[in-house]
Point group: C2
Chain length 520, copies 2
């Protein structure tokens, strides 16, 4: 573990990773955190906070870039270890490293640009009647140290130096990262890279700490600690809601940004289906089975209107499913939960099994599964909305557009909703769109929901249970807003004001003066 | 009650207001909401939502202005009733009406300007290697119908058409308002004005509803209703935290914006105290006793370093206190809670009573109270941090600046922190400021915290228990952000995109394209 600048062998038992491809245990053992060790990490983060949050824009941006540089400097050792611990193919891991470093560098740009400071100035009006107005200035400051929980399915881009860490550090929040036990070695390597960047850039040592823990004790302690002021989490609905409860029960409740559960409905609109049923069927299976379907945005639900075109789609998809290889899943736990979820669907009296993929050889293989039911069954059984994490999906055969819309109203919150549409479908989609806006964080046309671009306009979020907080995104530059709060300064002498609010605008920020946006 | 376009006599018992100045009951009786009536208001709000949230910027702004016009058109009847129900002087109520209407008109400007839509566009990059980028566009949409709880201490500006209602309506959220029982007649009048504006502007009838309810049942039902997506509340810590628990326990948890409890520390820095102890003492009592101290931002805590200058301050303030008249408090409940709080302080073995104001005659009078203790006592007794709502304040005599700082670290979250400082105090304040930024939403110099300007830079918020969500403000234009969430549109044909994201920028918005802010 990394407690600030120290490397510490956790004193509360130990844990080894498993290579899911072979089922073999991987050396070495990683020590797990005692209460005192979690406590030490929180104390260091707290001690770092006031200094770190006031680092200059250029300085903090350079630190984020140094984090990216140091991760790249880990070279092939990182790739090899991440592949072994996750069972993911080398190309995925290399892509994940690029995404991780690109994300850190994008947040460096965001920090430099400075709009996140949300500077607002309402100058004094000493002559105003009946009462003068004071000089009022507002900027955003960091919330405080953030607890980050690594996710299993993106051992780089949603883990130790992933989006939560990058956006929290960009906002000026120290992080205490709880590594995911599926990839302790990968976590340690990335943690060491961050630690190096902290030292190289002379940031306070508590800016980054990394702890290991078994079960839920260390994570619960972390989220309960009074010095932690926000939580970033990507994982299961059970895990996320448990953290929400811990955070809400604190003497001082804190925000939890948990990205949890989504089945990502895909709508096959009639014209599009008629025009290209076969191509859509094939593409659907590609999106479903990629990476053993271990994506938050996996297309777990298809909605289409019964008829000949749908049957052509089904035939094409079934054929593709029969050839879909069985990829290794991330952990034995995920593989067995997947198998149980698929069995539940297969055994449901009103659910038809349309196709299974290839069974594969070796442990922890994901045999893809595709199922179908009718709208009435889906509406009557809440359990059919539960995410089966992996390459499983359910087709709902609807009578007509109205039923498709009614079914949409019945859905829980989602990360994405996808529309396969042609020009002739636009009128139909127009009636559907308001429902989808209420249900999902991202609405896409003629693509597949897997693949989440890291950019300014991305929303990787959505109403509960997709996330715990629909007002936010965990991917893209708006993610920084999760870790900020506004502070107003009234009549403070310039000597005491933060630079962002000085009269001369020395940082060259976009600022809102009397409501009017301008730079310089 | 107003259930959409209907005026309904609540069928679940009735309630009459009390004139706190005389203790007499005021006619008429107002019917309280049954479960079915609360349900009807929520159903109408839900039915209105998709239409109301997509009203055009000009149209919605005109509606907010119509609300202000209709409130003004109520004329003197509103003023007379609000004075009778609140015991507040006419000038306060007239000022409150001006503030309420000004606030609605300011949000109309905000709606028209359109930056709240947060439009972002990342254009497609079809040629990008290794993977093309899709066209990604983001805007903010309204969260859904909002439950607004009127506050007792601002029967206009924080009640039926107050800041929560104005910002929710500006964001595109219908509101279901639970009137405060202290001023049902005022609530009805303002509700009727809003109802008229809804009709005049042809908004969906469920855009505004107003219900009455006794106890907590109607409010709990409202916050539990699946169609309510956020809550605005100003009131007691007990009331706010109860609503937070109800909201967190829902199948779909929702955000609660509760503005609750703050004692608003005022720091008397040494140089300022030495230079103008007497003037500060007098001004302090003015701020403390204004409006019977019934402000969220009342200066309930003073911190100063022991010595001659402090004793001069005390002498001046004590003299002013002895002449401070006893104003009428808002309700018998508030008056008796105030009396009990003051008695608790007066009876505390380590607390000295510095002065009491005049006792006054008649019911529900607030006899001001000023108390003192030492830092060690304050640090040892959490109960001394509890807000006593009314004109009561506690002076902490500190040994030195370090103790003042240690004591600040010990404080709960606050709406404001005030510094009385001179140039010679700047170095001392510099060490204090990081603590205050962590503790308070607004930091002010050489003024008094009462008086919250409605403008762009205001923050009326702060860490728990000042509010339930330190990331937000309930006063000022940033309040609109509480009721919005981002939605991303990927590769949607322009025919389906909201106008805010059309290529030609027909709304003339500030938009972020590839991260770069520009208009037109």
């Amino acid at each position: 573990m990394l407690i600030g600048a120290r490397a510490v062998m956790g004193s509360n038992g130990s844990h080894k990773a498993i290579d899911p491809a072979s089922g073999e245990t991987l050396e070495p053992a990683y020590g797990l955190a005692s209460e005192a060790e979690v406590e030490a990490a929180c104390a260091l983060a707290w001690a770092a906070f006031d200094t770190y949050r006031e680092t200059g824009l250029a300085e903090r941006a350079a630190f984020l870039e140094a984090c990216a540089d140091e991760i790249e400097a880990l070279g092939d050792a990182l790739i090899a270890r991440a592949c072994a611990e996750s069972g993911l193919p080398r190309a995925r891991i290399e892509g994940g490293r690029g995404r991780t470093c690109g994300q850190l560098r994008l947040f460096a740009q965001v920090v430099r640009e400075g709009s996140w400071l949300g500077a607002r100035i309402d100058p004094a009006m000493p002559e105003r009647q009946p009462l003068p107005r004071a000089d009022l200035r507002q900027r955003m400051i960091a919330l405080g140290p953030v607890a980050v929980f690594g996710a299993s399915n993106f051992p780089l881009a949603f883990s130790v130096a992933g989006g939560d860490t990058a956006s929290a550090l960009a906002a000026g929040c120290p992080v205490v990262i709880k590594a995911h036990n599926a990839h302790p070695g990968t976590s340690e390597l990335v943690g060491l890279a961050l630690q190096k960047a902290v030292a190289r850039c002379a940031m306070p040592e508590g800016t980054v700490s990394l702890i290991f823990g078994a079960g839920t004790a260390a994570g619960t302690q972390l989220v309960s600690d009074a010095r932690i002021k926000a939580v970033g989490f990507t994982g299961s609905r059970g895990g996320g809601t448990a953290l929400m409860h811990v955070a809400a029960a604190r003497p001082e409740p804190i925000p939890v940004y948990a990205e949890m559960s989504s089945i990502n409905p895909v709508y096959l609109l009639p014209e599009a289906l008629a025009a290209r049923a076969e191509a859509l069927g094939k593409a659907f299976v590609g999106s479903l089975t990629m990476g053993a379907g271990q994506f938050c945005t996996n297309p777990g639900l298809l909605l289409a209107i019964e008829g000949d075109a749908l049957e052509r789609f089904v035939a094409a998809a079934v054929a593709a499913m029969h050839e879909a290889g069985a990829s290794v899943m991330l952990t034995p736990g995920i593989a067995s939960a997947y198998a149980a979820g698929v069995e539940r669907l297969a055994g449901h009296p009103q659910v038809e099994t349309l196709a299974r993929g290839l069974a594969g050889e070796g442990p922890n293989r994901c045999q893809a599964g595709w199922f179908a039911t009718d709208a009435d069954t889906f509406l009557a059984d809440e359990a059919l909305q539960e995410e089966v994490f992996g390459a499983a999906s359910l087709l709902i055969r609807c009578r007509d557009l109205d039923q498709m819309k009614a079914l949409s109203e019945h859905l829980e919150g989602q990360l994405t909703a996808t529309l396969q549409l042609d020009t002739g479908d636009i009128a139909a989609v127009r009636t559907l769109l308001p429902v989808l806006e209420r249900k999902a964080g991202r609405i896409l046309a003629n693509g597949w929901p897997t693949g989440v671009e890291v950019c300014h306009a991305m929303v990787h979020g959505g109403p509960f249970p997709a996330t715990s907080d629909s007002r936010t995104t965990s991917v893209g530059t708006r993610a920084i807003a999760r870790f900020l709060r506004p502070v107003c300064y009234q009549d403070l002498p310039e000597a005491l004001l933060p630079e962002a609010l000085h009269a001369a605008n020395p940082l060259g920020l976009w600022r809102r003066t009397d409501g009017e946006l301008a730079r310089a």
